[in-house]
């Protein structure tokens, strides 16, 4: 049975349009599930809905989010926060703003173990050192005593990864965890996430623009357009024979899978028109 299962999730802007259109997806234990789609498609919204960090302007209209069979949307907010704190974690996009500049690095990793999971402080600190070593940080002791602004972007992202895995969560949402880094660092960080995920057997919901990245680390993926899942399949099938014309166009637009000497092919107008029509059809049916 899958660990995370989202069923017919419908989000809308308060007093505005639909943001997610009956999104369903399943992530099995230890599986990496990619979420791709153009900017504004609603990828981050899915992650935020799962973690309970949706902006106030967004409301959940209907649907379920099951974590190991429990519908978190039906839970009392405080209980839900505790459950999510204990079982899920986030690897955020921007390492520069994802660590609190006012606090030292060490407490930022350990506080959550101590406050949420009630670990003794000494145990939490030992755990933090162990994890920092695991993400290949040379002097964990010194780094834990540093303030974030004293560390480079790549190091901060490693720390965030260590921090995400610290409580042995069952599910991690990684929202474009490498986009803010330089290309050379991106590769290392991606490898690191993959290695950590495999070693810890964590399920990963991986938001990205980059199909190349998906092919490297995901087992399954969902393609989103305007808040609608247009294709949900395993990665092999997707790269061999994408079913939806929008998926095919996305694949064609990814440099690695076409002749690298050619410039990017934008998604053709005709394809956009097709998905738009599907979205309109879905809206019409939802309205009816």
């Amino acid at each position: 049975m899958s660990y995370l299962s989202i069923r017919d999730l419908e989000l809308r802007l308060k007093g505005g349009g639909r943001l997610l259109r009956r999104v369903s997806l399943e992530v099995a234990r230890g599986e990496v599930h990619g979420l791709v789609g153009e900017s504004g498609a609603g990828k981050s919204m899915i992650g935020k809905a799962v973690l309970g960090t949706l902006p106030r302007s967004v409301e959940i209209v209907s649907g379920q989010i099951l974590l190991d069979g429990t519908d978190v949307l039906a839970m009392h907010p405080a209980a839900r926060r505790r459950l999510i704190g204990a079982t899920c974690a986030l690897i955020p996009q921007d390492p520069l703003t994802a660590l609190n500049p006012a606090h030292r690095v060490g407490p930022q990793i350990t506080d959550r173990l101590v406050d949420i999971l009630r670990w003794p402080r000494a145990k939490a600190e030992a755990r933090a050192r162990e994890l920092l070593a695991e993400v290949q940080i040379a002097e964990p002791e010194r780094v834990m005593r540093s303030y974030p602004h004293e560390l480079s972007g790549g190091m901060r992202q490693r720390i965030l990864i260590a921090s995400a895995f610290a409580a042995e969560p069952k599910l991690i949402v990684a929202d474009e965890p490498t986009t803010a880094l330089d290309v050379t660092v991106q590769k290392q960080i991606l490898k690191l996430i993959k290695a950590m995920q495999e070693r810890h057997g964590t399920a990963l919901l991986f938001v990205t623009h980059d199909l190349g990245v998906v092919s490297k680390i995901c087992q399954r993926l969902s393609v989103l357009y305007a808040g609608m899942v247009v294709e949900d399949t395993d990665v092999r099938t997707f790269f061999r024979a994408p079913r939806h014309p929008y998926s095919r166009a996305l694949l064609a637009a990814t440099p690695k899978y076409t002749d690298p000497t050619h410039s990017l092919t934008p998604v053709p107008e005709a394809v956009i028109a097709t998905v738009r029509a599907e979205v309109a059809e879905a809206d019409r049916r939802a309205g009816a």
């Binding site: 960090t53 994802a98 500049p101 930022q108 959550r112 040379a138 303030y147 560390l151 480079s152």
Partner: protein, 283 residues
């Protein structure tokens, strides 16, 4: 693996030290006024009216900065006036800061209804011209230390609320807030433990500036005779008196004015200095 930013050292700079020095000295003098002041600040002696400061012919020993038209010792009055000025600065500054910063933090981070109410209130408040407003308030409340402080708090909390709100909004959009939330921190906990420490330097700078403003407001109110009882020594009151006899006895005007000027300048320089010192580290 420190990157360059970690190593930047900011020199405190002379203005930070000079202003801290003046304010420190003033605090000591104000606290010690009962022992340090050479004369009774209220004692009048018409025989000793308008004595010049010590270096000018005709000065009396013991009256270092001369006397006013009623024969009261200018230095002693300045020292006792400093007590009032600093009390107002400290109490009014702190209260303004607590109220304004709390409301600003709530509006900026919690958003929603609290933001709506607080921001609207700030807008309405800002529509009043502040000095007029404060004079009006004290006129209504009646003069006295309490009214001065109330007037300052009522007028200036918006300054804190606005700036802190903007800062809290910026901080609230950062990823570390989302991470804290995922880790199970509640909204109030996030506000107090994650956002507040990042807004604190700004609040500190505003507080220092506010203390300078409080000193000016107190002086203005004393100047227009709306401060505490009329013969109690206040800088503003001394300036008002000194103004009328500036041709016969300039020192009655100049010394309190100088004390006021240096104090206000020091508060604002301290604020600016602190801002320079703290800003780059946290950005």
């Amino acid at each position: 693996m420190l990157d360059g930013r970690g190593a930047i050292q900011h020199r405190a700079g002379p203005r930070l030290w000079l202003s801290a020095l003046w304010l420190g000295l003033l605090v000591v003098l104000a606290l010690g006024a009962p022992w340090i002041a050479p004369k009774d600040p209220l004692a009048q002696d018409l025989m000793l009216g308008r004595l010049p400061p010590f270096w000018i012919d005709g000065a009396e020993p013991g009256y270092w900065l001369g006397t006013d038209s009623l024969g009261r010792d200018v230095l002693s009055r300045i020292l006792w006036g400093a007590r009032l000025a600093l009390t107002v600065a400290l109490v009014a500054g702190t209260l303004t800061c607590l109220i304004g910063a709390t409301l600003g933090l709530m509006a900026g981070f919690l958003r929603g209804a609290s933001d709506l109410v607080i921001s609207r209130l700030v807008d309405i408040w800002m529509a009043f011209p502040p000095v007029l407003f404060s004079i009006l308030l004290v006129a209504v409340l009646g003069p006295g230390l309490f009214s001065i402080i109330a007037a300052i708090v009522l007028i200036d909390w918006t300054r804190f609320a606005r700036v802190v709100r903007a800062e809290a909004m910026t901080q609230g959009a950062m990823d570390y807030v989302a991470s804290a939330q995922v880790a199970g921190r509640g909204r109030i906990g996030t506000m107090a433990l994650e956002i507040l420490p990042n807004v604190l330097p700004t609040i500190g700078v505003l507080l220092t500036l506010e203390m300078g403003i409080a000193v000016i407001v107190e002086a203005i109110l004393s100047f227009v005779n709306l401060s505490i009882s009329t013969d109690a020594p206040t800088w503003g009151g001394m300036i008002a008196e000194g103004r009328t006899s500036v041709h016969q006895a300039w020192w009655v005007l100049v010394f309190p004015l100088l004390a006021l000027f240096l104090t206000v300048l020091s508060f604002s320089q301290l604020g600016e200095g602190l801002k320079d010192r703290f800003d780059p580290v946290l950005r």
